[in-house]
Amino acid sequence: MIPVKFDYLAPTSVEEALSALGEHGDDAKILAGGQSLLPVLRMRLNAPEVVIDLGGIASLRGIRDDGDAIVIGAMTTHHDVRDHALVKEHALLISKAAAEVADSQIRHRGTFGGALAHADPAGDLGAPALALGAQFVIAGPGGTRTVEASDFFVDLFETAIGEDEILTEVRVPKHTGWGAHYEKFVRVAHQWPIVAVAATVKGSIDEARVGLTNMGSTPLRATATEQALAGASATEDGVRAAAELAAEGTNPPSDLNGAADYRQHLARVLTGRAVLKAAGA
């Protein structure tokens, strides 16, 4: 199928994009890499009158060092995020998760900011962004504002980005030298995870951050597990005990891929694997 007819705008600056968004409001959709939006348009699940393509805005692409954080431009592709030296050095968890998004072709087109703004609870980047305490820089008609990851994800496919706003970049606090692993459980190779766990640890183990994918309507932190891991030994027994707490406070969906209690079981098992691999054990 092909999408319903729409008008196409290709702004070359964030200001132009914001003004187009201001003019068309509800009737417009933002196109980033298009790897989630185009299937939606093709299946006619949505039929915006105007599509605003951010692909021509060079300032939204790229990754830079900014002191205690790295800054990832919203239009940087998963492929480029995965391979970037700054990401590997200071936010290895993001690199590991970006490597697991869909497949090679999708990673060449799909963008870091687009995927986060889409906020699919089964998307691979929300949990690592949340675990690392990322900050979301959002531009609007009144200027830019910064939203903490804990406030960014509101609900299924819903974020703190307002109707007249655009996500421009994501600041990821440096976790230099932290080990990391993204453990993704799928039935079909390039599909969305049934459950996935993003784990990153300092030392073995001084501190840990654990994010959960598809265990609720938004990405979640496994805070009880994180607390139990602080000072734990990176051994099978030490980690498994902490991982037993991973499903606390989660409210996963039940669907054809698995019931909620099965997902909670997966969260505990995958957390153990992810933390052990992150710690190099």
Binding site: K5, F6, Y8, G34, L38, R42, D103, S104, Q105, I106
Partner: protein, 160 residues
């Protein structure tokens, strides 16, 4: 209508297209490049894979207008030698019989070329992972993987 100018298989083309036109439609219906096929139309199967500015994309999941100003290579433009010659990866698929019905083959070859460009000497596992976005409805993966390894100079022809 939106005007687009791009390079397809080495030739400069320009057209007025509807913004909703998918790149794969543009290639097939406007340019007659039916070597690129539509398999699933849901961005799952990878049969429509082409290269956009040198990297593999699923052309059913790109708008033609998004290719404006860029370079597209399809299976028809892959071999840059005289007519009748094949690209080494095409040659390897023939040598190793890396196809059954052949429908997924254009996409498999375009993805394999991308994969080998990034990793010229992949292991079998790296080939399987690198090709995960391409589905073969005949489930003929064994010889497809062998073909990619053969193109990389790591095996000697078909094993099945």
């Amino acid at each position: 209508m939106t005007k687009i100018e791009l390079t397809v298989d080495g030739a400069a083309v320009s057209d007025d297209v509807e913004p909703r036109m998918l790149l794969v439609q543009y290639l097939r219906e406007k340019l007659g490049k039916t070597g690129t096929v539509i398999g699933c139309d849901t961005s799952n199967c990878g049969a429509c894979t082409v290269h956009l500015d040198g990297t593999s994309v699923k052309s059913c999941n790109v708008l033609a207008v998004q290719a404006n100003g860029r370079t597209v290579t399809t299976i028809e433009g892959l071999a840059d030698t005289a007519e009748g010659d094949l690209h080494p990866v095409q040659e390897a698929f023939r040598e190793c019989h890396g196809l059954q019905c052949g429908f997924c083959t254009p996409g498999m070859i375009m993805q394999a070329v991308d994969l080998l460009g990034e990793n010229p000497h992949p292991t079998e596992e790296e080939v399987r992972l690198g090709m995960e976005g391409n589905l073969c409805r005949c489930t003929g993966y064994h010889n497809i993987v062998q073909s990619v390894l053969h193109a990389a100079g790591q095996t000697e022809g078909a094993t099945a």
